[in-house]
């Protein structure tokens, strides 16, 4: 509602100014100035928020020798400096392209598995009857806030023991494990709101539990699955810590590949800037395309 007519500008309120007889000219001027100040403030803050990202983008479009000489804002006076050279070099770099693929290989299965496994469990918690159901669910909810750090050492040993340390499988499994509490929590709450009559009707038609789940529940769960999917997708895509520990040179995603370059920050800005920007493209596209779902995912996960 914030953007619709009611509160428009913060200047003298538009509705029926004639009726505002109690308002002096002075107080209207004060309000008008205040409205102007608010706008100036928000514009400055907006710039503050945009400049760092724009800086990275422009830096990625300059040759390394230009970056060594001066700041990215130089392109405003010398636009001829702009070049896609760094991107071309980067995309010929097998380490980087390989790690981008790894990011996809990790993110997609993690997201799909979390959604599928989470839905099954969420449905069971919402609509099936078994002993201790609520306790089991509360236990899962309790796991929502467990920090991933707790699991790093034990899981490293566990994965080492069963031989998947350093593999894509290990990274995916870890993300699924830590994505599940939120998935179960979100989906169980969503499923619980499905009207009982709908399920009973399907049951009368002779549908079994699995059929009910696939044909009735899942098609209704679109919004919840979208929110969860986007959230999990971005979470895994952007992860550094888990992959830093559980992947090796072959299976490392883009975040880890770039992280290894950060130690010599000044010298390889021509890899880091375009690399970081490429790694941001997919999340940003997803973000702009699915803002609505992303926001609801973030909000539901407020306590994660």
């Amino acid at each position: 509602m914030s953007t619709d007519a009611g509160s428009v500008t913060g200047a003298a309120p538009p509705p029926a100014p004639a009726a505002e007889d109690g308002r002096s000219l002075g107080s209207r001027i004060v309000e008008w100035v205040n409205g102007g100040l608010v706008r100036v403030f928000l514009v400055v803050v907006g710039l503050f928020w945009l400049v760092p990202t724009i800086g990275l983008f422009l830096a990625s479009l300059r040759a390394p020798q230009d970056m060594a000489a001066d700041g990215w804002w130089k392109v405003f006076t010398e636009p001829s400096q702009l070049t896609f050279g760094a991107y071309e070099t980067l995309l010929e770099n097998d380490d980087i392209t390989g790690s981008l693929l790894n990011t996809a290989y990790i993110t997609v299965p993690s997201t799909v598995l979390v959604v599928v496994i989470g839905s099954l469990a969420g449905y069971a918690f919402a609509w099936m009857e078994f002993p201790g159901r609520d306790w089991w669910f509360l236990a899962v909810v309790g796991l929502l806030v467990v920090p991933v750090q707790v699991a790093l050492i034990p899981i490293a040993e566990l994965f080492g023991g069963i031989g998947i340390f350093g593999s894509l499988t290990g990274v995916v499994l870890f993300h699924v494990g830590f994505g599940l509490p939120f998935a179960v929590f979100l989906l169980r709450n969503f499923f619980a709101e499905i009207p009982r009559e709908l399920l009973e009707a399907a049951r009368l038609d002779g549908a079994g539990e699995l059929r009910l789940f696939v044909r009735v529940v899942m098609p209704l769960a679109g919004p919840a699955i979208a929110a969860l999917g986007i959230f999990q997708f971005l979470w895994v895509w952007n992860d550094l810590l888990v992959a830093l520990i559980f992947s090796d040179a072959e299976s490392q995603p883009i975040t880890v590949a770039l992280q290894t370059q950060v130690r010599q920050f000044g010298n390889n800005i021509d890899v880091l800037a375009p690399g970081a920007f490429i790694s941001m493209v997919i999340p940003l596209v997803v973000f702009f395309a699915f803002q609505r779902q992303f926001v609801s995912g973030v909000m539901a996960g407020a306590v994660k």
Binding site: L42, A124, A227, L258, A276, V298, M299, A302
Partner: protein, 449 residues
Amino acid sequence: MASDTAAGASKTAPAAPRSRKSVTGTRTTVAALFLLPALVLLGALVVYPIGYSVIRSFYDQSGDGFAGLDNYRALFTDDGIRTALKNNVVWVVFAPTVATALGLVFAVLTERVRWGTAFKLVVFMPMAISMLAAGIIFRLVYDQDPDKGVANAVWVGVHDTFAQSSAFPKAHPGRESPLEPAGGGAFVTKGTVSAGDTVTLPLVGVAPDVMPDDAKPAAPPEPEADRITGTTWQDFTRGKGVGTLNGVDASELGYAGMRIEAVKDGEVVETATAGADGTFSFSAKADGAQLRLPGSNFKEPYNGLDWLGPSLVTPAVIGSYVWMWAGFAMVLIAAGLAGMPRELLEAARVDGANEWQVFRRITVPLLAPVLAVVTVTLMINVLKVFDLVFIIAPGSSQDDANVLALELYRKGFAADQPGIASAIAVFLLLLVIPVMWFNVRRLRREVRR
């Protein structure tokens, strides 16, 4: 986008269906099949590690010997961990409160402009990118060199607007100079001057591109009765060298704007400023004085703050965190605002309350629950902060920027001290247990209805 979606999204955790009967009258085995994958994975990947970490934290680094509380004692004696603890406290106190406060201000103010949605999008956007990318972005922002890092470029710009920068950094006397260093970066003539004399004050060492724009070729001093006249200039021309040592050559530039003091018995009796051609003059008052070029002429130009140095690195990294997460606070608070009873605000305004009073007495108290949730969420998040510190703090100041999650990584995977690392992990877990308990309690009420 943000505001209305947000409003629509706050419908999590509804009550379960009133009747606990299964629609289908399922057998427990079917339920078990649905639950099995989730419970197995949660058990193996989340629950088992908790138990393992707790037990491991009581054993020594090799894992063979029981160590009692030694690893926990290390939390408070190990220098690295103590710094990390201290920094974590700073993080937990400042990062969530600053982000929430900014989020509140943004949420309230965006309601007053038409393009509030666009603004929210801009501030919320950093939430979508990785902390690694944000880290690289801010490494660039915080670059020490004001010609490269935007933070210092702005800071130096502001600083130089208010404080005059010196004109002649690195200038110093050449060979056989009549000047000698006088402490505090100043130079002073070896002898005294008397009325009617001419003085030459040659220096070298100012890079040609930092010479003042209005500097003209230096003019030799013209003697004047009852006055002391002189010239101060760069006794060097690029490509031509010194020329006449301590004498003015046609190609040499005057030190336009150089400040000169006449000093008698330690007191400044007169000051002068050199003209564009480097000439200056003193009245007879300066008779018998030494001429001094004060150090303020030669100070290094101001270079901005060392953002990523030991003392500022934690605030700098917290700044980047706030950049990422203020949008989160803003969106949640905006959703809370959207659900607020408008009549209440209008009633207060009609009663003559000004905007500040409305904000302070009505908006904030009504939003208190939302503000609490946002702050607590951010606190949990901040406890686990790793990527930003790991990426932004350069190797030289990473020890000073240390936080628990980073120290756990170092101890567990670089230093091979899994016992201590496990103790840190358990400590982190203990810190979030109150929130865990709160979540479960809140939900139990709803589930049980």
